[in-house]
């Protein structure tokens, strides 16, 4: 637990919850990043691309303003990252949500479907890390 950062985690989490609340209040949309991304690729709605641009811009502003900046991981096998991306893209399209759509917004709406999805991807993620890190010994 040496890496535990409870304060920044809670503050950052609250900002994410605030963002989801404002999006729902102002536009009636769920702040689910995978849903917004799949929608942007499919139907090219302007608001979706603006949300995505904001996502990168907001993170970039903080990383730029608040050193120690996050140093991108290097040396992790890129083919594995590509495989990870394909699985995440495919899986979230099939399940209709990710950590934000099902995890944050769905649980906040007490959706049983989203709670089931969140438990499933959490357990699958933990199993996946166990296999990749501890059985195959892949680390960054």
């Amino acid at each position: 637990m040496a890496n535990f950062t409870p304060v920044s985690a809670l503050i950052g989490g609250a900002l994410i919850g605030l963002s989801a609340s404002l999006l729902l209040w102002f536009t009636g949309r769920i702040a689910g990043v995978s849903g917004i991304m799949h929608g942007a690729l499919r139907e090219r709605g302007t608001w979706r691309w603006l949300f995505i641009a904001g996502l990168a811009g907001g993170a970039g502003a903080w990383l730029w303003l608040a050193p120690p900046a996050f140093v991108p991981r290097s040396g992790f096998p890129l083919p594995l990252v590509l495989l990870a991306g394909v699985l995440v893209g495919f899986g979230t399209a099939q399940s209709g949500g990710c950590t934000s759509g099902h995890g944050v917004c769905g649980i906040s709406r007490l959706s049983v479907r989203s709670i089931a999805a969140t438990l499933t991807f959490m357990i699958a993620g933990m199993a996946s890390v166990f296999v990749v890190r501890h059985l195959f010994g892949v680390a960054s």
């Binding site: 919850g17 536009t27 907001g58 502003a61 990870a84 099939q94």
Partner: protein, 143 residues
């Protein structure tokens, strides 16, 4: 201001706030995420508090927002219509979870990490677009 413009401005503002939250909480760092998922290693519970903070804030605010007849800049709320827990949902979530555990990125942090000039975030986001395309070609229900 026309409603379409207001919606676009709202989406940009919400995106900025969301990205800020991901950076402040360090979720843009895949090692931080893997530290949470690695329950057999040096476990880092931070991600649970990010989720807790986000759900706490949203649960409180959604109660008031969803009592309104409509959002400020749109005629209706666009809420998910599906409520059923079925195999499609669980298998899709499991596929997502496996990918999440391999790379340490879910969609939001993957896109946000682009801003740090991360090469692997670029590869990850390209992979997500490919996965989205593959699902539409192979996995989507035939109508």
């Amino acid at each position: 201001m026309r409603h379409a413009t207001a919606r676009n401005a709202s989406a940009l503002a919400a995106g900025l706030l969301f990205g800020l939250g991901l950076a402040v909480s360090q979720m843009v760092n895949p090692e931080k995420v893997l530290g949470f998922l690695d329950v057999a290693g040096n476990w880092d519970p931070s991600l649970a508090l990010v989720m807790g903070g986000a759900v706490g804030a949203a649960m409180l605010a959604f109660r008031f927002v969803l009592k309104r007849k409509q959002p400020l800049f749109d005629g209706e709320f666009h809420l998910p219509r599906l409520t059923k827990v079925d195999l499609r949902l669980l298998v899709g979530s499991a596929i997502f979870g496996v990918g999440w555990g391999i790379g340490g990125y879910c969609p939001g942090p993957g896109i946000a990490a682009l801003s740090a000039g991360s090469v692997e975030a670029l590869v990850f986001v390209a992979g997500m677009a490919l996965g989205s395309f593959l699902y539409r070609r192979l996995g989507a229900p035939r109508s």
